[in-house]
């Protein structure tokens, strides 16, 4: 079973319906026991960084997720769910994240149209990343964000996207994966990628 973390930020249901379309067993949950026994965890989310971290910390979901990752449970962060996996964010002041991937979250350059909204291409930097299995280089995915993450280690950059500058749109470190775009809203390519994550978790 894949647990989709329910922490009251934005449109979380769409990840669950995408997994249902793929016939992957998944549940929306904020129950620590369910997260502990899950074969994989997806952390979705849209909205503000600090508010999201509060929603994770208050019920102690941050600790539960850290422990799950230490045990080797695969984790996929999506959009804001990607950003909170990093060490720190500069969104409205400085805030600490889950620090599962070393690096910072920064705002896009002021000269750009922000939010970065719409379909953009992902250049595969780490073809060995399981998320990219069967996905062509430069495929389009759907983005909607104003901040982006910069991993401290180059190895953690699995995919890049060009928007004014090249930013990290897919991060990967061990069993922790993250996409800045919304695979659940990215048509067939996105569904394929969610399927790859489910396969990695051992779900069919």
């Amino acid at each position: 079973m894949i647990a989709v973390v329910d922490y009251r930020v934005g449109n979380i249901r769409s990840v669950l319906t995408a997994l249902n379309r793929l016939n992957v067993e998944a549940a929306l949950t904020d129950d620590p026991d369910e997260l502990e026994t899950a074969d994989g965890i997806i952390l979705p989310g849209v909205g503000a960084f600090a508010a999201a971290m509060d929603e994770l910390r208050n019920p102690g979901l941050d600790k539960v997720m850290r422990q799950a990752v230490q045990r080797g449970t695969p984790l996929l962060g999506i959009c804001l769910g990607m950003q909170v996996l990093f060490s720190k964010s500069e969104e409205h002041g400085e805030h600490s994240g889950l620090d599962l991937i070393a690096g910072r979250v920064k705002r896009f350059d002021k000269n750009l149209t922000v939010p970065h909204m719409g379909w953009n291409q992902v250049e595969i930097a780490r073809p060995d990343c399981p998320l990219f299995d069967g996905i062509e280089d430069e495929s389009y995915f759907y983005f909607a964000h104003s901040y982006c993450a910069a991993p401290a280690e180059e190895e953690a950059v699995a995919g890049r996207t060009e928007y004014g500058t090249k930013f990290c749109s897919v991060a990967w470190r061990g069993t922790v994966f993250a996409t800045q775009f919304h695979p659940e809203k990215s048509g067939e390519c996105g569904e394929h990628m969610l399927g790859n994550f489910a396969d990695f978790c051992g779900e069919e």
Binding site: N20, G47, M117, W119, S146, E162, K185
Partner: protein, 251 residues
């Protein structure tokens, strides 16, 4: 590269897609879920569903429709029409809408855009602006283009950006439904005034109009209803036309 978006708009009345000419002679044009799925298969980058009745009963129908659309579609969609409060938005977003579009209520309620963007994030708050040309400027009209306001459209666009809107859906009332091209000057004036994405609407007659509004009009996305509903052009055909002329599109 960030692709330019082609967005079909579906007018929904009592749970059905309708189409008409100049707001009259509305005919049934199918089920929103089926029609949306068809456009998605044909390569639409997003969909916009507008509840054109927007009565209390139809809003209930809309929430149910949003749920069924969300179950079937794997591309983003926006829902608009009759949204007055953040509670209305919360219900639509919880049902699976990715963005909500507000128009009249954004003008009537000074706090709504700021409150909505704080609560749900800018990326899901679209402000729809309907402008009517007055000499060399454009005046904002609300209530489906029936009621003039004191706002100049360019000033209003700047103001909603300041309040936290994530995107502007800009319609030229003069051009709407005419199929003789978007108002390029209007679109460019607004796109130059703000740094959030602008979706151009009103007047699409063919791919050449979309090319012009995405280049000279500096729009990030082009919305159309009639040309897709009447199957004058296919979404795929429009995208090939744009691609051949060097615009980045998702094919």
């Amino acid at each position: 590269m960030l692709a330019r978006r082609i967005i079909p708009c579906l007018d929904v009345k009592e749970g059905r897609v309708v189409k008409g000419t100049s707001f009259r002679g509305l005919r049934d044009a199918g089920h929103p879920v089926e029609t949306g799925a068809k456009y998605s298969r044909e390569g639409a980058d997003e969909l916009v569903f507008l509840d054109i009745t927007a009565t209390l009963e139809s809003r209930e129908t809309m929430v149910d429709m949003v749920r069924r659309v969300a179950d079937r579609l794997s591309i983003p969609f926006t829902v608009g029409g009759g949204i007055r409060k953040t509670d209305d938005m919360a219900r639509l977003l919880a049902a699976g809408a990715d963005k909500v579009s507000i128009n009249t209520a954004a003008v009537r309620d000074d706090e709504l855009v700021s409150e909505a963007s704080r609560t749900f994030g800018s990326q899901c708050i679209v402000v729809a602006i309907d402008g009517l040309k007055q000499d060399d400027s454009w005046q904002v009209y609300v209530e489906s283009g029936n009621t003039p306001t004191d706002w100049d459209a360019v000033e209003w666009a700047r103001e909603v950006e300041r309040r936290g809107a994530g995107e502007i859906l800009l319609t030229s009332i003069d051009e709407d439904g005419q199929q003789t091209g978007y108002d390029i000057e209007f679109t460019a004036a607004v796109a130059d005034a703000v740094s959030i994405p602008v979706i151009a609407s009103g007047g699409a007659g063919g791919p050449q109009d979309m090319y012009r509004v995405l280049t000279d009009g500096r729009a990030d996305a082009a919305l159309a209803a009639s040309i897709f509903h009447y199957e004058t052009y296919s979404i795929e055909g429009v995208k090939h036309y744009l691609s051949e002329r060097g615009l980045p599109v998702r094919l």
